[in-house]
């Protein structure tokens, strides 16, 4: 018998599956869905202690004896305040105390109701995590949030150091309704130290997973350039059952990795999409730019996702996170690749497709009129080898991802937040610190916004700015939502007739403009002459969005022709 509230079943079931054995309950009513669910769970021993202060300290004694987490459950109101002393004691004794409070619905706080206080975060001074679960669990994403966060906070309580956590559970009436649960609850497990991976035979398990599956996908997100990691991934990418997707910001360029995710995915028909979906997914690095891979895998991927991160972040990009490998990704990937054999064609099939889309796209682009897409095709090959590219947000970075990575460049972009507010400044800062040439490719909105990134007294000569001016935020013409409104140009694009000429004069920077292919070719040669320069490429008159859609359509059609 479990509560009919899925937020409660998620909480109870995940904690029990994680290994909870003892629950200390204090009487009350608001917490009935939780307390009765624990009380009726065959794997839980309940202890009833009326005074919550005593209850939480009582739990500490059980933890000291069992060296395992123990949960306390209290009703709403000042009941929770009484957990405060034991929370502090648990923090400093490093004991995994799980304090669970039922709460009134959030919308009733400060409205004069009984036993209603500001519970969320009340114990945060002495807890490793303060979580308020979302009671509105009709939406599948809310359940994903609740389940993930229950996992995350348990993992924190049992991490290094162990310590207390507080989980607050707002609950609407009716409270006394029950179901017989038959669900499975997703677990996220953190594997921390190398010795633990070995001791628990977990590394062996990971390896045999790789051996026994036909489709293993590795996606590398945002990552600083790291030669050893790049090499390890390069070797891994050659395995028959492995496909590796990278992005410019991955800075991974070895072996047979696929660097243009969107180009490949846009060429797929429905059958290929499903065929591409892996059985095992591994991720390294943080933010992934490609929306298409996120959309596809969030919808279709049903396998196990392992995230490799030395910091152990619970980054569940695809809503299927199962294992967090909190270790050095280079050694993990090297260890995974050992003694692997496979007859799978997963690697070859998609690497071939990747190469075919590249050559077909090149043909299609060559016949395009002047437009953003074409401009990038001209610019990118002209950027000198062994230099660094700073990519502005947000259409610039997406256009660049449609062209194969140049192994001789480092790629950077502010993709941690994808803001437009500092692209020029970051490029200027890098130029000051670097002996290499830094090329910033930026759109007009990002450039105008971060103008003061050029206002400084440093004596730099190695910054080359390519300003793609299409007269407004062209990205919003490409994505669907804004196009469907009656204010695309006003509210989304910020359409304008400004250019960079006077601003370049203002800062005393050399300036040239290009509004056709010939001027662009000459401009690129001029740009890499001496000094800081701005080359403004005018594509305002072009049908940039239509040309881009044309490219996607043509590539897809020709590859299936």
């Amino acid at each position: 018998m479990q509560s009919d509230k899925s937020v409660v079943r998620d909480l109870v079931s995940i904690l029990v599956t994680k290994g909870l054995k003892h629950v200390v309950l204090s009487p009350g009513s608001r917490h009935a869905p939780i307390s009765i669910s624990f009380y009726n769970h065959p794997d839980i021993k309940c202890h009833v202690i009326p005074d919550e202060r005593a209850a939480a300290y009582f739990a500490l004694g059980i933890i000291q004896e069992t060296m395992s987490p123990v949960a306390c459950v209290c009703t709403s109101g000042t009941a929770l305040s009484n957990y405060s002393s034991a929370a502090a004691e648990a923090l400093y004794q490093e004991l995994p105390l799980i304090l669970i409070s039922a709460d009134r619905p959030m919308e009733w706080v400060d409205q004069g109701d009984g036993q209603t206080i500001r519970q969320a975060g009340l114990l945060s001074a002495h807890c490793l995590a303060s979580l308020s679960l979302d009671q509105n669990d009709d939406h599948a994403d809310v359940r994903w949030f609740n389940q993930r966060e229950i996992n995350r906070t348990w993992n924190l309580a049992t991490g290094t150091p162990n310590g207390p956590i507080h989980i607050n559970v707002p609950l609407r009436e009716p409270l006394y309704q029950w179901v017989e649960p038959a669900e499975e609850y997703p677990l996220i497990t953190v594997h921390t130290k190398p010795e633990q991976l070995i001791a628990e035979h977990k590394m062996q398990e990971f390896r045999s997973h790789i051996r026994s599956h036909e489709k293993v996908l590795l996606i590398v997100g945002l990552h600083h350039p790291d030669a050893a990691l790049s090499e390890a991934i390069g070797t891994f990418s050659l395995l028959p059952q492995v496909t590796v997707l990278t992005e410019t910001t991955s800075n991974v360029n070895h072996g047979e990795t696929i660097s243009c995710i969107d180009r490949l995915l846009m060429s797929f028909n429905n059958h290929e999409q499903l065929d591409f979906v892996p059985e095992v997914l591994i991720t390294i690095g943080t933010h992934i730019i490609s929306k298409k891979i996120k959309a596809l895998l969030r919808k279709e991927f049903k396998g196990a996702h392992w995230h490799v991160d030395p910091a152990g972040a619970h980054m569940d990009t695809f809503k299927r996170l199962q294992e967090i490998v909190q270790t050095n990704p280079t050694s993990f990937i090297n260890a995974l690749a050992e003694n692997t054999e496979s007859t799978s064609d997963y690697h070859q099939k998609w690497y071939n497709a990747h190469e075919r889309t590249a050559s077909i796209q090149a043909e299609v682009v060559s016949s395009l009129p002047w437009c953003d897409m074409k401009v990038f095709g001209h610019i990118l090959p002209k950027i000198p080898n062994n230099t660094t590219l700073q990519m502005g947000n947000s259409s610039v970075v997406r256009y660049i991802q449609l062209y194969n990575i140049n192994n001789a460049l480092n790629y950077y972009g502010n993709r941690g937040t994808s803001g437009i507010d500092g692209c020029t400044s970051t490029a200027a800062g890098m130029a000051v610190a670097s002996e290499k040439t830094i090329t910033l490719i930026t759109g007009d909105i990002a450039f105008l916004y971060d103008l003061n990134g050029l206002w400084h007294q440093s004596n730099i000569s190695n910054l080359k700015i390519i300003l793609i001016n299409n007269g407004g935020g062209g990205i919003f013409k490409i994505i669907d939502g804004p196009r469907s409104t009656n204010a695309l140009e006003e509210i989304f694009e910020a359409k304008h007739n400004l250019n960079g000429q006077h601003l370049a004069q203002h800062f005393g920077i050399n300036y040239a403009a290009a509004s056709n292919q010939d001027e662009l070719e000459k401009g690129m040669d001029w740009l890499y002459g001496e000094g800081v320069k701005i080359l403004e490429v005018d594509t305002k008159s072009a049908a940039n969005d239509e040309e881009l859609r044309h490219v996607f359509k043509e590539v897809k059609e020709r590859i299936h022709a």
Copy 2:
């Protein structure tokens, strides 16, 4: 030329010594002590960017290029708000961005002054640490705080993961006064992974430190029972140059460790105190109960303190923390002990003294009249082997520490916070979870306070409570401050005439009382018969504080006789 404000010199000098090379300044006045100090520092390259938003993003570019921390410095007021975007970007790109804001003095916030906003914690949503330094640095402890916290936050910014930190620096006028600094600034370094310890030859360095010094002191604080650690420390404790101090709550019982710190230290004359002070200090575990060792080492210890903690806590108990070894203490201690030779007598001298104080104290106590100290001498040997002792706060745990540890017991006490509010509850919780007998020794105030720790429905029979009732908080008669006031009994002791008899009846618990040695002997035999029992030991009529002082005095005199 550096600011005459030591808070600023601490900040600038520690960051530079830690490895800071680039500072991005934005103009202003309040931050002059900081900006001018950086500007004149020979190891710092300053960049001036007027717009703070651009400045912080500019710093990100330098970090991306150099993979090292970069600091930004801004003046007070909304200037700081402009760091917000780059802080978020740095968090998600995992870049060590050090955001430093000058602030108005804290007392002027919300008083209508110009450029004065609520700066402390303004960026906390996206920073790994938000630190407000203390401008009142005339007090030596404030400098210790500032220096430690600057170290700690730098270590966080450069830890796993890297990320942004915010350091807020309130500054009073006058701002424009300068000195030529000639100070040394204490550094705290964190050594994390085993591979790092090896790669940086740090383990070798630690080992050669142990070999080349005559006096190495290891103090073990609060720690869960851990057989492997206890054994490692036991082996380490036999080294000629090593003295190991443990406490009951250390749960370390191997080799030749010294478990009664206060007893030993109280027997010292001035010369011995100084002779005892080590050259190298190692700590394991968290809270240390002995106030005397803390007082002695805080005053006299001038060597290097290494704290071994898998969680990497910056716990600077003795104000001399230099190295945090963020690794498993068992393997660290085992590695330290390898191939060590020494002709030092540091171990033998103090272990002998420890044994002599034990036997002298036994003589002295045997001739005491009925009092708390004598009562503990009777109780402790009667606690059955292979059981667990829960020690109440706070005089109980201190009395117990005056008697040698019994290797066959586990010792617990709520020493994370040293609160009296949950001692009974924790013992009750442990009794429920344990198959062993749990003995709780508690004072009367802690017992009365946590009465509801006995209010539960669990069917336990293995809890034995020894209630030492001396009629109030006897601890306050022992420490000096309260004795010097005119309200010792009212405000500190909470003197009372209550006892446990009716309360035992209330909870249906068997009860007996003892107010002399004969009754106590019988009571102890009765206590370990079947069922939950309370044995109340009445020492209200005794001169408990005077007898304890007498013991200390006698032991010291006789050992030097």
